[in-house]
């Protein structure tokens, strides 16, 4: 009998220990040994070269990057990890729309102001620093990597078939305003004989571009109150998008879906509003077969910003010192310049905008478009746009309503009411 008891006790202990070990995780600390830094990103940041240089300057440091292609999925996972105190990696990227949300959990990140952040904050466009800083100004969770900038990418071959000019200066003259853009779209649809080719990829991308151009906030004012009715920019962006739908200009391809990706390859649409970071995406999806067919012109309505990211170090990181050094490097001139060269991400450092390497940069894939001039010219004058804590759920809700109008599921008038109701619900 005694043996049975012993066995039972051993079993119970083993189970208890197993449970504890599972909670404890494996602990290796900063003691001069080799370090692996885990960088957790979404999409493509173009850091391969920067990592190599950093590793060369810091012997014993290895950088491992994981990148989730789907921003929504990435945000959900990161939110889970941060909220639950789980291990999110040593460096994480935070997208523009999420900065306010993560500032609500500022204590889960290393406060960069305690780590020399205040000494370097002047290197960014002023609002870049503010966007990752808490309302009381005491906590900053992220170093800016890039800003959106806005331009309009277009297909030269499709323009030519439709009888439109293809030179980028001429093309820019076609659409000084969004009204002119829609008028051009109508001309395009008349000129092109191919029913499978549309003027624009989807209404939501245009909608977001217009919305982000118009003023210093979108759905929420600076007190984080929903201002769906009081911000005329929303209705104006909505109306332009619906007008495009009614003129049948859209290929109705949902952003980041397989069909959207296929649309790049098949040339299903002729224009797409493109923030700087989108150029890398367009190139990847269109593939080598379409090299030189794309070009870039200025965006209707003047500049504007869409997107941009920040790098943060979660409190759970076991190599905080080294992680801080890494984000400092990646967000400084050399790191941002390497990312610009690799993926077209527009730096958030005004000092770079005057440098020849950026000013004279051309993108071979986009028919040698002078991306430096196109994007950097407007970047210095970019106005910060305040996005509230609930910006993402509200934006999702409004985009859904817009798509339901675009696909003909819902008549436009009801679509606007739907959008308003859904936005109010999502803002809770």
């Amino acid at each position: 009998m005694n043996r049975t008891r012993q066995f039972a006790a051993t079993l119970a202990t083993a189970i208890a220990l197993g449970g504890l070990a599972a909670c404890g995780g494996s602990g290796s600390s900063d003691d001069g040994d080799d370090i692996t830094l885990r960088v957790n990103l979404f999409g493509k940041f173009g850091y391969a070269e920067a990592y190599k240089k950093f590793e060369a300057d810091h012997p014993g440091v290895t950088i491992v990057e994981t990148a989730e292609g789907d921003l929504g999925k990435y945000n959900t996972k990161l939110t889970q990890q941060i909220a639950a105190g789980g291990d999110a990696g040593d460096v994480v990227a935070i997208e523009e729309g999420q900065t306010v949300a993560f500032l609500a959990a500022a204590n889960k990140f290393v406060n960069l102001q305690d780590e020399g952040g205040n000494d370097v904050k002047d290197r960014w466009l002023p609002w870049v620093w503010d966007k990752a800083t808490s309302a009381d100004g005491k906590t900053t969770i992220g170093y800016g990597t890039d800003v959106g900038g806005l331009a309009m990418c277009y297909r030269r071959d499709l323009f030519e078939k439709a009888g439109l000019p293809i030179d980028r200066a001429e093309v820019a003259k076609l659409w000084p305003t969004w009204d002119a853009y829609i008028a051009t779209g109508k001309k395009f649809q008349q000129g092109t004989k191919d029913k499978k080719v549309a003027f624009v990829d989807s209404s939501t991308n245009t909608y977001n571009s217009i919305l982000m151009q118009e003023g210093d906030h979108t759905y929420f004012d600076r007190d984080d109150e929903l201002v769906f009715d009081d911000n005329p920019a929303i209705k104006s962006a909505w109306d332009y998008s619906v007008e495009m739908t009614e003129a049948d200009l859209s290929a109705q391809l949902k952003a980041f879906s397989d069909e959207w990706n296929a649309g790049f390859k098949n040339g299903s649409f002729a224009t797409i509003a493109c923030p700087a970071w989108m150029t890398g995406y367009i190139k990847d999806q269109s593939g080598e077969a379409n090299a030189g067919k794309w070009d870039i012109a200025t965006v209707p309505g003047g500049g504007g910003n869409w997107g941009g990211s920040w790098l943060a170090v979660p409190q759970t990181s076991k190599h905080q010192k080294m992680a801080l050094e890494l984000i400092d490097y990646l967000s400084d001139e050399e790191g941002q310049m390497l990312a610009f060269e690799a993926e077209g991400r527009l730096p958030s450092l005004p000092a770079l905008y005057d440098q020849a390497a950026l000013k004279d940069a051309k993108n071979v894939y986009f028919n040698d478009a002078p991306i430096g001039q196109l994007f950097a010219a407007g970047a210095a004058g970019l106005e910060p746009v305040y996005l509230g804590t609930k910006n993402v759920p509200v934006r999702d809700a409004v985009e859904n309503a817009l798509r339901s109008v675009e696909n003909g599921e819902v008549p436009p008038a009801r679509g606007w009411d739907d959008a308003k109701a859904a936005a109010t619900k999502a803002a809770r």
Binding site: R5, L11, A83, S257, N407
Partner: protein, 300 residues
């Protein structure tokens, strides 16, 4: 002496079953209680607990049209998927139980869809039901029908998702039913044959009644899976904002709505409320199943 021995034996017995209770306490009871606690708060995911609001979340949920829409979607897809699934699985099981050539091959074959990764299944079915270049629409075109925007309507999206579920689970259920079929005494069929019963008659009068307990088990498992349906409808909506299940939530299930509220909406308390109500619904459905089971048994 005997008493201490008995006590010892009992102690050992308890120690032996204790892992179950430990695991249940950690993974079953604690989350259940904690979720109930969270559901009575306004609780944002990143900022944490805001305030105690009692049953306010439950009140809100009862009049939340998005929740009820998700409920209808869940049960609609469930019925659309489960009924044909079990019918086909029963017929498949019967076929697999006959003298087929290379029987093992066929038996393994029906399980294959279940082994395939859900993500791959989602991508393939996404392509089959694609609006512009999908095979489903191509087939419709071949017989002179108009193409359907499968994701845009409630009925068509339900149908597509139900197909996905059926494709994955029919073979699995067929194998379980096959195992049950093999325990049916062969004499019954032989006797029926001598009496001149047709294959169809044998199926109805012997196979189906003998399969009843297994059918009920399979139904319960399919019900629980159906109410928790998540991955297939999520994968059916690729690209931005997949969790919303269509532009108007036409194929958003309750499980998807839960995740959307928790992680996009940042409303952890409200999501916990949904989780609890979902738990109650599953318990209710299981109870109804149990009642039916008793009635069917007593009918024998």
């Amino acid at each position: 002496m005997a008493r201490t021995r008995l006590a010892r034996q009992q102690g050992a017995g308890l120690a032996f079953v204790s892992p179950y209770f430990l695991v249940f306490a950690v993974f079953g009871l604690f989350p259940l209680v904690y979720t109930a606690w969270v559901s009575m708060h306004e609780w944002t995911l990143l900022a944490g607990k805001v305030e105690f609001i009692g049953l306010e979340n439950y009140r809100e949920l009862m009049v939340d049209s998005a929740f009820w829409r998700a409920m209808v979607n869940t049960f609609g897809i469930f019925v659309l998927a489960t009924v044909p699934q079990l019918v086909v699985a029963t017929v498949l099981a019967q076929m697999l139980n006959t003298r087929l050539r290379s029987r093992t091959f066929w038996r393994m074959g029906v399980l294959l869809p279940n082994v395939a990764s859900v993500a791959a299944v989602g991508i393939i079915f996404g392509m089959i039901f694609a609006r512009d270049y999908g095979i489903a629409n191509w087939l419709l075109g071949q017989i002179g029908l108009d193409a359907i925007d499968w994701r845009a309507h409630r009925w068509s999206s339900w149908l597509a998702i139900a197909t996905m579920v059926d494709w994955r689970w029919t073979g699995y259920n067929a194998l379980i039913l096959l195992a049950a079929l093999q325990s049916v005494p062969k004499e019954l069929y032989e006797a029926a044959k001598i009496d001149g019963a047709s294959a169809w008659r044998q199926f109805w009068s012997i196979t189906v009644p003998m399969l009843r307990p297994t059918l009920i088990f399979v139904t319960i498992v399919a019900t629980i899976g159906g109410i928790q349906l998540f991955t297939e409808p999520l994968l059916f909506n690729p690209g931005a904002n997949a969790i919303s299940g269509g532009n108007r939530g036409q194929f958003q299930t309750v499980a998807m709505y839960l995740v959307q509220e928790a992680f996009t909406g940042q409303r952890f308390g409200y999501a916990s409320t949904i989780a609890w109500v979902l738990f109650l619904v599953i318990a209710l459905v299981a109870a109804i199943n149990l009642l039916l089971l008793r009635r069917i048994r007593s009918a024998d």
